[in-house]
Symmetry: C2
Subunit: 175 residues, 2 copies
């Protein structure tokens, strides 16, 4: 077991080959709050050190056509993430993914984001990690990057970010 | 903190009133397998005692009309759960919910289910718990109850189950 209960910086297990296993890590002290100013959100229930893996969320990659024809017509569209993909002849396309995990519950903050995220395209998961030390009681916020489907409430918009959150690239991650 | 790291039978925290907080519990030793006979699935990475809370998954309740017109036309429909609801004049309706958590990754088993689930209608979460002692390496399977959208691969279908999984009602739960 590669999980280290003491510092919560576990490695994602990869058995390789046929028995590929991904450790579904989650920081154990997280709360769902129903009444943040932005709606439901996730709050730290204990201090979270920078770099901690907060959640590993599996995704469902939606078809490009079904997304345009259907998902974009529903409230779920506000929850989907861009997902780089290729069409049948190998040309790059942007699909959308539904995130089955806390990735769907983190609110957006342009100025106060404290959680970064990175897509694992091959394994169809997104890994969320603390960008800095987070205090108990702080709301966990990410940057939605190039996928804002609403008016940004708290500041100028970040540059377009295609591959996960830009800020995550600045810290050393252990996954 | 009501979380007990030793037996993982934590209570969901409810601050009551304005600051309602739900502890996003998850059993820490779970793996996502990409290649079960049923597709992606969740596997126990350590023994799980009966009654253990395995996941608390937030849900997004979809509109009845948008579900019929759109979600049912997509692959996402196979992942949604029935969600009891009421229309504008208080008549009972069945909506659908998208589960942002492992509830979307558990495969179905009629005969070998080892995880039960219960909706918390007011707080918009589903709680998943071990129905029996589960061994390391076992796949975690639930009953999809009255919401099978595919041919059941492993046995006769269970009776219609309206409120979470019938089997969960037989065990003592601590939530």
């Amino acid at each position: 077991m590669a999980y280290d209960q003491h510092n919560h910086r576990a490695s994602i297990i990869d058995g390789g080959g046929k028995n590929d296993l991904i450790h579904l890590q989650r920081f154990p002290h997280l709360h769902l709050a129903s009444n943040t100013p932005k709606g439901r959100g996730v709050v730290a229930g204990a201090p979270i050190p920078a770099g901690t893996v907060i959640d590993v969320s599996p995704v469902l990659i939606l078809g490009i056509v079904e997304n345009i024809e259907h998902i974009e017509q529903t409230q779920l569209f506000n929850y989907t993430y861009n997902w780089p993909s290729k069409n049948s002849i190998g040309e790059p396309r942007t699909a959308q993914a539904v995130v089955f995990g806390l990735g769907s519950m983190f609110n957006h903050s342009t100025e106060e984001q404290n959680v970064g995220w990175k897509r694992d395209l091959e394994r169809r998961v997104i890994v969320y990690q603390a960008l800095r030390d987070i205090q108990e009681g702080e709301e966990l916020c990410i940057s939605y990057g190039d996928h804002l489907t609403f008016v940004d409430a708290d500041g100028p918009r970040s540059p377009v970010i295609e591959e996960g959150s830009e800020v995550l690239g600045r810290i050393s991650v252990e996954i």
